[in-house]
């Protein structure tokens, strides 16, 4: 009996430990970079995650299908969600060591996950598989931390002003071309269309972005001094920002805080006044404007407005950044295959055709060339890209401006101001004190 037991235990030991031993021995025996062929190995499974709307999901799945047909030895498991909750989900995955091989990330998340540049796979190491030469140098530089290329930008984006031309026509106005025209549109809307119509709708996050652009144009200096870990602007500048908000509300340019909050915690493009054209403008990313157009009732037209620029402004104060990046998990077991998939999605002409401009205009020159050849380079996202190219961008955005604590800090102060709990002076004082305290805390 003991003999049988020991034989069984030995067999079990070999069964459990044998494959592990053979696996640990294998890397030295294999050639370093050869991709396995479909004939001699079982398919490799890659996991890939992204966020987006249904339109993006459908196109992305179609592209993955094409990739799998081209590379039968690779299977891609798609994990896709809407924007809401995506960061929390990915954070949990990264913390738990279960992040996908290839994942869509936001530019400012690099500050969270990869402060030393080692949070994601360094794509420079995969340059043989991944064609990087078609990407703008600035775009790659903004995606690089301490020499490590952490992600490949799908596109470069900025927030621009988009207006519902149909509503502006009803008001007998052309879309605003300057800050003054924007301010003047409010009273005209109230007078001609009634108190429920506004030329612009912004939540507090959008408002902070507008304030950024406006004050940078006025002062011709950065918003945040990253090296000092504090605001680069004075308390008076913050008071000016607070007054800009109160002026916009008083002039009927934007709905007040109470009116907006009456719709609850809902994305702006899903609010009825936007859908029906009563809120006739938005300050949105070039990569996101598509979903705003999608929700409009039929018969309405959204156009890109000329960017308001103060005379003498050295910079438009654009929040110009890589809109979305694809990063490879630093712990992936299949970096080459992940790079192959990433290269396909970024640079392949057929993939470019399938994905189109759904996530904005691709940053890859190869994808742009393919889309140009097919006559697909038109529409709002393309117009936005053209406008960005023509605007002065001497002052670069820092990722700290979009840090969740900084964003929420501004939101809390603007909300208190919007509800009349504090005046503009107090709001400016609190921005100066609270936001500087937050910056000192997060820029460690």
């Amino acid at each position: 009996m003991p003999n049988i037991l020991s034989v069984l235990l030995s067999a079990l030991f070999l069964l459990l430990v044998g494959p592990a031993l053979s696996q640990t021995a294998s890397p030295t025996a294999q050639p370093p970079v050869a991709l396995p062929s479909a004939m001699d190995t079982p398919p490799i499974e890659l996991r890939m995650s992204w966020w987006g709307g249904n339109d993006v999901h459908r196109a992305q799945l179609k592209a993955l299908d094409l990739f799998e047909r081209r590379h039968p030895h690779i299977r891609v498991k798609a994990e896709y969600t809407g924007w809401a909750g995506h960061l929390e989900r990915l954070t949990t995955q990264i913390a738990g060591g279960t992040a996908p091989d290839l994942m869509q990330i936001n530019w400012n998340w690099l500050k969270l996950f990869s402060r030393d540049g080692r949070g994601f796979y360094d794509l420079n190491r995969l340059a043989g598989t991944l064609r990087l030469d078609g990407f703008d140098r600035d775009a790659l530089a903004m995606s690089t931390i301490q020499g490590h290329l952490n992600g490949l930008p799908l596109n470069m984006a900025a927030r621009l002003f988009w207006f519902n031309k149909t509503t502006f026509d009803k008001a007998g106005l052309t879309v605003p071309r300057s800050w003054d025209e924007l301010m003047a549109a409010g009273p005209r809307f109230r007078q001609r269309l009634g108190p429920d119509y506004y030329p612009l709708d912004v939540n507090f996050q959008d408002l902070t972005a507008i304030a950024y652009s406006w004050i940078v144009q006025h002062r011709n200096r950065p918003f945040i001094d990253e090296a000092a870990g504090r605001l680069a602007l004075s308390r008076d500048d913050m008071v000016a920002i607070a007054r800009l908000y109160t002026r916009m509300v008083e002039n009927h340019v934007i709905p007040d805080a109470r009116e907006r909050a009456a719709y609850g915690n809902v994305p702006p493009q899903e609010m009825r006044p936007w859908i029906t054209g009563r809120y006739a403008g938005t300050y949105q990313w070039t990569s996101a404007i598509g979903k705003y157009v999608d929700t409009l009732e039929p018969g309405q037209e959204v156009v890109l407005a000329p960017y308001p620029l103060l005379p003498g402004a050295a910079s438009a104060g654009l929040l110009y950044k890589p809109a979305m990046l694809f990063a490879i998990n630093r712990e992936t077991r299949h970096p080459r295959e992940a790079a192959l998939l990433l290269d396909f999605l970024m640079n392949d002409p057929e993939a470019a055709h399938i994905l189109g401009l759904r996530r904005g205009v691709p940053e890859s020159a190869a994808a742009v060339a393919a889309l140009r050849q097919e006559g697909l380079l038109h529409g709002l996202a393309w117009e936005g890209r053209q406008q960005i190219a023509g605007l002065p961008r001497t002052i670069a955005l820092t990722g700290w401006f979009e840090h969740a604590r900084v964003r929420d800090g501004f939101q809390d102060i603007f909300e208190a101001l919007g509800y009349g709990r504090i005046d503009a002076e107090e709001a400016g004082k609190r921005m100066d004190e609270d936001i500087n305290a937050i910056l000192a805390r997060v820029i460690r």
Partner: protein, 297 residues
């Protein structure tokens, strides 16, 4: 005997595994993490022990004090109202009416649906500025209320969502009502007692063990409310619906400050434990078990 024990252990193994992995492990690890500065994006090995610093920070944290106040207000509003409403409906559904089974099922349905994300989304639309409630008020000639945008009303909509899920408490009350001997009611009626007196001197005292059970359960649930405020108002406006579970979520998953979020979680746990202990301590004064106050027979 030994084989029986092994078989028994195997039967309960899935439960034990679940308990250890999904309850015990997070329970213990969150306690340990609450004494560290652990950030979610870093490996756990990068966390430093900081003693009671997170708990000290809480004392001076305005947001925490505010969230705690809102949470207590929510609990104090929700629990008594829900218990009273559930008892009232259970009382009505205890009468011998035609198709009573159908009514009981219908009134229970909101409890099945109520905690879901879909219902919270529906609630958001119903109470929106141009939502169904305001349209109905308008049709009745009453001016619209800014349910979600006015800090004075926003919490009320979250409370109403919780009240709407009265079914579970109602079923327990109904079961309790049906255990009260009918001869007590008959004797009281013969003695000339009115309906109100019968309710307050017979029904209510004999129902106190069930009320106590529901009371404790509702307190625990109310302190953990998350879905409603997260989806309907996002904690706003002006943080008027910013309950402690939302703050814990923000600290952990928005700001990645897991050490502090763990300390907040443990503080919430201790608060719930304190209220539960107070409830148990108070039962000797108002709960009747088999005719004796606070003593089981």
């Amino acid at each position: 005997m030994y084989e029986n024990r092994i078989t028994g252990l195997l039967y309960i193994a899935p439960f034990l595994l679940g308990l250890v992995m999904f309850t015990l492990f997070p329970f213990v690890s969150s306690l340990l993490l609450s004494f560290t500065d652990y950030q979610l994006q870093d490996p756990v090995s990068a966390a430093h022990a900081i003693g009671l610093e997170n708990y000290r920070q809480m004392v001076g944290d305005r947001t925490f004090r505010h969230a705690l106040g809102v949470t207590l207000l929510y609990v104090f509003a929700t629990v008594p109202l829900k218990l009273a409403f559930a008892l009232f409906i259970a009382f009505v559904l205890n009468f011998k009416l035609r198709a009573i089974g159908l009514f009981r099922t219908a009134y229970y349905i909101p409890s099945i649906l109520g905690g879901s994300v879909a219902i919270a989304v529906l609630w958001r639309y119903v109470f929106a500025g141009d939502g169904l409630i305001n349209q109905a008020l308008g049709a009745a000639g009453i001016s619209a209320v800014n349910w979600l945008g006015d800090p004075a009303y926003a919490l009320t909509t979250i409370v109403l969502l919780r009240l709407w899920q009265f079914g579970s408490a109602m079923v327990v009350f109904l079961a309790g009502l049906q255990t009260i001997p009918t001869d007590l009611y008959e004797a009281a009626t013969v003695d000339g007692a009115g309906k109100a007196r019968i309710f307050f001197t017979i029904t209510l005292p004999l129902l106190t063990p069930v009320i106590f059970f529901n009371f404790v359960m509702q307190i625990v649930q109310a302190f953990q409310e998350f879905n409603g405020p997260y989806i309907i108002t996002g904690g706003g406006p002006l943080k008027s619906t910013y309950l402690l579970p939302l703050m814990i979520y923000d600290e952990a998953f928005k700001y990645f400050n897991v050490g502090y979020a763990s300390a907040l979680s443990w503080t919430l746990f201790l608060i719930v434990a304190l209220f539960t202990a107070l409830a148990f301590g108070s039962q000797r004064y108002w709960v009747f078990y088999g005719g004796e106050r606070g003593e089981r027979t």
